[in-house]
């Protein structure tokens, strides 16, 4: 913990907290050495990140599994098994996994198009994800949709529509129902740095804060929105500066640091469950691959910077190193976790490829619910 409860609590920033605001001045140039900030925009003390072995190993395995699933999907795409296109979240696995891993089984996840890790942490089986990408009848939408337009009802994961921004209001509504039900459950959603420009995001955050809904919103700031750079997307120093405009606490988190995200998101969800309303968390990562499998991203991405990120901030490597350095796991245990992940992904791929394509005779079924 960075200090007392009060220090990271839900009350909006005031006085001396905000005196630190000039910290943000040229944050974007300094993302590589980002300092994570709490709700009052003090650096977060990271001494108390969890070292609980079970938690750490669970998160490690989920992150590794996420990477393996995406790599497997990518190679399946190159082999022609993925109709349409595919997006990947490489670079944000830590943030996706460690946040969604804070949800209870009965809580809803409202993911975006790069949150493979969140799907996996919430229990969406890799074989179902693969079947979806492969357009098979056994996928969660029976082949009616593809790519990351994917949900999974058995684990309370919504499907997004393509129109970016729409999911924040949807998430607010999911949280509204939870609030009415009064069982102390919260919901979690994500939005990209590009997505923050969408009007729906504003409307959704406003609705959530006015109604004090149990919702955590993570801004996946991966420094690109397709081919658009951050400076063309917003003019403020940091997107957490939007939080006071809604009267909610805002955190800035190094999204390549899994255990830090786990702590901050976990605390935010706890506040949400306790009726203290929404929290905004800006998670800074980098999109380590192209926008989609088709994207010629070296056209517009600063490849040197990207390489440095991959060297210094790859979330998988960072977690490996952290576990090792902290004596939480041995090199063998870490290696074994990776091997198991790759095997699981491979098996899922094989199983999914055996599934049939949907029956065109049924194309007109299910337009209406009974």
């Amino acid at each position: 913990m960075s200090g007392t409860k009060a220090e990271t609590s839900g009350s909006p920033v005031t006085r001396e907290d905000l005196a630190r605001l000039d910290y943000f001045e040229d944050l974007r140039d300094r993302y590589l050495s980002i300092e994570s900030l709490d709700a009052r925009w003090h650096p977060i003390d990271q001494a108390d990140l969890t070292s609980d072995r079970d938690t750490c190993m669970r998160i490690h395995h989920l992150i590794s599994l996420t990477r393996s699933v995406e790599e497997t999907l990518d190679s399946a795409f190159r082999s022609g098994h993925v109709p349409g296109t595919a997006f990947f979240g490489r670079g944000n696995e830590a943030a996706s996994v460690a946040s969604a891993a804070c949800l209870d089984d009965e809580e809803w996840l409202i993911p975006m198009h790069r949150n493979c890790g969140a799907h996996i942490a919430k229990g969406h089986p890799p074989v179902s994800i693969m079947a979806h990408f492969f357009g098979r009848a056994g996928g969660p939408s029976s082949g009616r949709d593809g790519n990351f337009h994917m949900g999974y009802r058995p684990r309370k994961i919504t499907q997004l529509i393509s129109h970016i921004g729409t999911m924040v209001p949807i998430a607010a509504g999911v949280a509204w129902a939870e609030k009415l039900r009064g069982q102390g459950r919260a919901a979690l959603t994500y939005i990209g740095d590009g997505g923050t420009s969408a009007g729906d995001v504003h409307e959704g955050m406003n609705f959530a804060t006015v109604q004090k809904l149990p919702l955590v919103i993570i801004i996946d700031n991966n420094q690109y929105a397709y081919k658009t750079l951050l400076k063309e997307q917003f003019a403020c120093e940091s997107l957490v500066l939007r939080a006071p405009g809604y009267g909610m606490p805002g955190y800035l988190v190094d999204g390549t640091n899994a255990l830090l995200m786990h702590k901050i998101c976990g605390e935010a969800l706890e506040r949400a469950r306790a009726g203290e309303g929404p929290t905004l968390i800006e998670s800074v990562t980098i999109r380590a691959v192209g926008h989609s499998v088709y994207d010629k991203y070296s056209d517009y991405v600063d490849m040197e910077l990207l390489n440095r990120w991959n060297e210094e901030r790859d979330p998988v490597k960072r977690l490996d190193a952290y576990l090792l350095a902290g004596g939480i796991a041995t090199e063998d245990e870490i290696g074994e976790s990776h091997v198991r992940a790759r095997k699981e992904a491979e098996e899922a791929r094989e199983e999914a490829l055996k599934m049939p394509f949907p029956d065109p005779e049924k194309v007109e079924d299910d337009v209406y619910a009974p």
Binding site: W108, I110, P140, S141, S142, R144, D145, H149, G151, R153, T158, Q159, I161, S162, H163, T166, V168, P169, I170, A171, A172, G173, V174, A175, W176, A177, E178, K179, L180, R181, G199, D200, H202, E203, G204, N206, F207, V210, Q211, D366, V367, Y368, A369, P370
Partner: protein, 332 residues
């Protein structure tokens, strides 16, 4: 049994349903403390609380989205748009998200969108529109368009209990229409008991053997008036109120045309892109041999809905234009 206004019918249906099922929620602008622009939900917040009756911020996409999210999570929200015109703010939420969710195997989305629609009096280009053409092509939606208090109450209950997103058109002009001024056919008694009106069943408002006049919404009044005029001229017009636009009662249209051989389709919305095109096409395809005359359509002019009274009158397809079109058909 009693005679209540269309507005009271809607209000009563909402109230009774909220009493019956606590997963039903209301959200919209000014609907709480203020009871909404048309006072449909006056007193609801006091009775059902601020959790279930939410005065939304001015953000249609946001609160429509929130309602959809609540529907995914077990609730049955009813969303009030202050005017149907503003539903365009939520287009993708309704068409892309709510309407397609079940097809994508992501579960039902039981939700009602209340749309105070059509011209009132000099409400101008942005408070007079008929929204059904915008949504008519969207798979997964239903569209109800009641023209009587009886239908309004019964169809609202059907809409709320339906597991699909329903656009519920409410005709502002009818909200407080003096009951005694309504044509007989438009004031069936409204039972005090619980009842529902099925979707997809048209109603014959007046039988006739010479011309079929297919219509719905505010235009039923003009249709009935024109039918009376034509009746006096010896032409028997069959007037059919479609009642629901999606699903629509194709059989009722075809049956009537088979009988009369002549067809006029009438609605307040502009013709181009209006649902009359679909109805006419179906007849041209499926009842071609029954037709004794060209199909006629009548609707609003191809302009924005103008404000100033003489312009608005010229814009709307009123009784005189209907009668004229019927006369032409009769003479064919």
């Amino acid at each position: 049994m009693s005679q209540i206004t269309y507005r009271e019918a809607i209000s009563t249906a909402l109230w009774e349903e909220m009493e019956r099922d606590e997963t039903i929620l209301l959200v919209g602008e000014d609907i709480g403390l203020g009871g909404g622009a048309f006072y449909i939900t006056k007193g609801f917040q006091e009775r059902f609380g601020r959790g279930r009756v939410v005065d939304a911020p001015l953000s249609e996409a946001g609160f429509t989205g929130a309602a959809i999210g609540a529907a995914l999570n077990g609730m049955r929200p009813v969303v009030e748009f202050q005017f149907a015109d503003f539903v365009t703010e939520s287009y993708k939420m309704i068409v892309d998200f709510a309407a397609g969710n079940h097809y994508r195997q992501m579960g039902p989305v039981p939700i009602v969108f209340r749309l105070p629609a059509a011209a009132l009096t000099s409400a101008g280009p942005f408070h007079s529109q008929n929204p059904e053409p915008w949504f008519f092509g969207a798979p997964g939606l239903k569209i109800a368009a009641p023209a009587t208090a009886y239908d309004a109450k019964g169809m609202m209950k059907t809409a709320i209990r339906d597991n699909n997103p329903v656009l519920f058109l409410e005709y502002k002009k009818l909200y407080n229409y003096p009951i005694d001024d309504l044509p007989e056919a438009l004031r069936p008694d409204v039972p005090e008991r619980d009842y529902t009106v099925s979707f997809g069943e048209a109603r014959v408002l007046r039988e006739g053997s010479d011309i079929s006049l297919i219509t719905f919404g505010t235009s039923v009044i003009d249709a009935l008036e024109a039918a009376v005029i034509l009746g006096a001229e010896g032409v028997e017009v069959e007037v059919i109120d479609m009642r629901t636009i999606l699903p629509f009662d194709k059989k009722a249209i075809l049956d009537s045309v088979e009988k009369t051989g002549k067809l006029l389709i009438l609605h307040e919305a502009r013709l181009r892109g209006g649902v009359a095109g679909e109805f006419a096409s179906i007849v041209a395809e499926e009842a071609f041999e029954s037709l004794d005359a060209p199909i006629r359509r009548l609707g609003g002019l191809d302009t924005p809905v103008p404000m100033s009274p003489p312009l608005e009158k010229a814009y709307l397809p009123g009784t005189e234009k209907v009668a004229a079109a019927l006369r032409e058909l009769a003479a064919y």
